[in-house]
Amino acid sequence: MASYDKTEIADLIDGSMPWPSTRAIMSAHKDDDRFDKYLSILQERVPWHHPILLPIGEHLYIVQSGENRIVKCDCGHEFGSYQDNWKNQALIRVRGDRESIAEIYPGRYTCDPEWMELREFICPGCVTLLEVEAAPPGFPIVFDFLPDLEGFYEDWLGKSLPQEA
């Protein structure tokens, strides 16, 4: 059964693995300890100690904080319960006119702001751009991802959710 070194998984996360090795991993059967190694690498890289339950973006994690499961940024900023949309707690920049959209999509790439706007979600703690969504003006903020944590851990990983240490 395939299994990879922690350094290999770290290279995968960073996108620094050479393509032939990356493809060999893609073509092989999934290594069954991938998730654990992945999580432990992420855990080592953040400056805080709440156990990561699931990464949900490039900088965001669902973590166990005491009794609660909350969304947390690398920088430590907390967005509240994972069952609520973290975007509601973020700083939001809306590109809703031609000029600001053209900064990103110049010339003929610019969309019609009557039909679509770009919303940028920024961390109040570290000012990192966490997510961008494109939606028609007036459309509610999109809730990307509400995972079934219990189902994932118990049925797929075959273990119970970690608790606060």
Partner: protein, 703 residues
């Protein structure tokens, strides 16, 4: 490793081995040659002094290409085509992938371009597909491109114009401008024109070919020159030859060296043709099972199939190549069991020779089909490569049990046989597909099985296929190398044309077609005689055979029609060309597939120029009794076959004599290959020492 195969005029051979020396290939080559000569008690000097021909093919060019360590190439193309090299062909992103990976686009990746975009310049010009000048060459653009390429310090410049296969005037004009700039700046950089690679349609393949010639092939010539100097220092009196992808030999100063880059499977099919001619079998299916792949091809009525756009290192080339179909099924093929679904898959990954199968004890950790053969007692653990590699049966068994048998919940031996059978079924299926795609009747064909693992699995992969006869060779492992020694000095020259012969064409049209055919053939003939002359062949020794790529008008695929005529001397010759095509087309596709009402198109005209070379002879001996010599018998070994253990008789291949018969269960061993004969089947040795395999009478499909 560098292998040297020393062949004498009677076809006897000795194999020498030495480590490859990539910095200077001639060192490893001489060492392995010395090793081979040692088997005949000759010094290397004595061997080289007696040799008439030395063939050398190295992997230097391919490695240069794969490792992207070739020259800094600059490229000038028709303006508007600058991105062609970056776009490539879609299939280049997945062409050597397994079926699941082909389906999953996330694994697709275009090969890294050999020329970066900033060294590609467009020049305004256009000659259309009929040869009309639509736009002249904008000379100032060509000059500027050349200046900038010089400033960028390029080591080679390629020129590729869109329709240069019709008319190369603009390519020549640009080349001249570039050369003037080079002269003015006093730099020496070789220039390569796409039309001189091979003037045929499809610019991506032509572009790839010319760039690979400049990038990887020509630059490796030094190694070949080094090898030639080394042989001559040992007393060899002639020039060293290399093997072209379509089965000819060329001296190492041959101008289009990239044509030697696909020479792997060439030898086997040449050998099969040679042996087929001797034993009177002009239709042969060849099957070569080695460590990593199973290669097959079919010689039909003496014709060797040619593929015109092969893939090399995931680049499409416009290089005629002996056509072989290949699947990733060899002894080193890795066996995987999906942990979730328990689905078994074989390859296409292979353990290769390093680390090799688990049984080699050289660090291999993944079970392979070779390990199964070891577990089942089909391979002799003490006689692999003549005993040079001790096979670790226990290691093979424990890894195979852990990774395959246990996850499947099956007995180790049963699982091992199942895996070997899967490999054999894959091999059989690929032959069956080829046979049905070409609508050939296996009863008209002899099957030749070779490669190190061919004889090991041929009993099952040929069972029930209905071939006329099934042959293998004592030297099965060296058959491809042997085949190369049967090659002649041979060149192919061809040119794209657009000629049609409608059924109701008038005399004037037919006359113009005839004139055009003669004009093209004459041009090619000139090139052929001059290039063959450069290699020291007398014009009188050069035999020419013309060919035409033809189709029924409107079709998408061509058939290559060999023609006995040297030129069209009368209108009736055109009818003869058509007749040859119709007959060949019917032989390949069946008479019902003919469509003469559509008329005929000629898409390419070519010639094959050949000078005969000295070849090893197969020795014909008188048949002896059915019972092999006593010293051929090596004892017995337990062998698992058809889910039972058998006490197999062991025989030494080299001691079997013409006329001998060996009945299964038996294993015939040779240092480089192993022939397995299950109970009920038998082999006999003919007067040429060719081994004939015969299945049991009631042998039916085991599916």
């Amino acid at each position: 490793m560098t292998d040297t195969l020393l062949v004498d005029e009677d076809g006897r051979f000795a194999v020498g081995k030495a480590s490859t020396t990539p910095q200077n290939e001639s060192v490893g080559f001489l060492e392995s040659a010395e090793d081979a000569a040692g088997y005949w008690d000759l010094t290397s000097q004595e061997a080289f002094e007696q040799l008439s021909v030395v063939l050398y093919s190295g992997t230097g060019m391919l490695n240069t290409l794969l490792s992207r360590t070739g020259r800094r190439v600059g490229l000038i193309v028709t303006r508007g085509m600058e991105d062609a090299i970056l776009m490539g062909r879609g299939l280049q992103a997945w062409t050597d992938y397994s079926y699941p990976d082909r389906l999953h686009a996330v694994t697709h990746q275009a090969p890294e371009p050999l020329v970066p975009r900033h060294r590609i310049y467009g020049v305004t010009e256009r000659i259309d597909q009929f040869g009309n000048v639509v736009a002249p060459v904008y000379e100032h653009e060509a000059e500027k491109a050349a200046e900038e390429l010089v400033a960028q310090g390029v080591e080679a410049i390629c020129v590729c114009c869109m329709f240069s296969y019709v008319d190369d005037t603009h390519e020549r004009q640009i080349t001249e401008i570039v050369q003037n700039v080079l002269n003015k700046r006093d730099v020496e950089v070789p220039i390569y024109r796409s039309s001189s690679v091979r003037p045929v349609i499809r610019e991506q393949s032509r572009l790839n070919s010319v760039v690979i010639e400049a990038y990887a092939a020509d630059v490796s010539r030094e190694q070949l020159v080094g090898v030639e100097e080394a042989t001559q220092s040992q007393g060899f009196r002639y020039g060293v030859q290399t093997v072209l992808s379509y089965g000819g030999l060329a001296g190492i100063r041959y101008p289009r060296l990239h044509e030697t880059m696909i020479s792997g499977p060439v030898g086997g099919i040449l050998g099969a043709k040679y042996v087929g001619d001797i034993i009177g079998s002009d239709s042969v299916i060849v099957s070569d099972m080695g460590g990593t792949s199973f290669d097959i091809s079919a010689i039909t009525r003496g014709n060797i199939p040619i593929e015109n756009e092969p893939t090399l290192a995931r680049f499409k080339l416009n290089l005629p190549t002996i056509s072989m179909e290949s699947i990733g099924a060899g002894a080193g093929t890795i066996i995987k069991v999906d942990p979730l679904t328990k689905k078994v898959s074989l390859g296409p990954e292979s353990a290769g020779s390093t680390p090799g199968p688990v049984a080699f004890d050289m660090g291999g950790t993944e079970p392979t089909v070779c390990d199964c053969d070891v577990i089942m007692g089909r391979l002799n653990p003490d006689y692999f490569l003549g005993g040079k590699v001790k096979l670790n049966v226990e290691a093979a068994k424990s890894v195979f049990k852990e990774k395959v048998a246990d996850p499947l919940g099956v007995d180790v031996y049963e699982a091992a046989e199942g895996m070997a059978n899967m490999l054999e079924m894959d091999a059989k299926e690929s032959m069956r597909q080829m046979i049905s795609a070409r609508a050939v009747d296996p009863a008209d064909y002899a099957l030749m099985a070779y490669g190190g693992s061919g004889p090991l699995h041929m009993a099952e992969y040929s069972r029930g296929m209905g071939f006329k006869n099934i042959l293998t060779f004592p030297f099965a492992a060296a058959f491809s190398a042997f085949g190369c020694t049967t090659a002649d000095y041979l060149r192919r020259y061809s040119r794209s044309v657009q000629l049609t012969l409608p059924p109701n064409a008038d005399a004037e049209h037919r006359n113009s077609v005839a004139e055009e055919i003669n004009r093209i053939w004459e041009g090619l003939q000139e090139a052929a005689t001059s290039e063959m002359g450069d290699e020291g062949h007398a014009p009188a020794d050069v035999q020419l055979e013309m060919f035409a790529q033809m189709r029924y008008t409107g079709q998408l695929e061509d058939v290559e029609v060999p023609l006995a005529m040297q030129r069209i001397t009368a209108d009736s010759d055109l009818d003869l060309v058509i007749k040859e095509f119709d007959e060949l087309y019917a032989a390949i596709n069946g008479a019902v597939a003919q469509y003469r009402e559509a008329g005929h198109s000629i898409t390419e005209l070519g010639i094959v120029a050949k000078v005969e070379k000295i070849k090893p002879k197969l020795v014909r001996e008188t048949l002896q009794g059915e019972t092999p010599l006593a010293e051929a018998f090596k004892g017995t070994r337990s062998m698992y076959y058809n889910r039972e253990w058998h006490e197999a008789q062991l025989w030494e291949m080299d001691y079997l004599k013409p006329g001998n018969v060996v009945a299964g269960p038996a294993v015939v061993e040779h240092p480089a290959t192993t022939l397995v004969i299950p109970a009920g089947d038998r082999v006999w040795v003919d007067e040429w020492t060719i081994v004939h395999y015969e299945h049991a009478e009631d042998s039916s499909e085991s599916e």
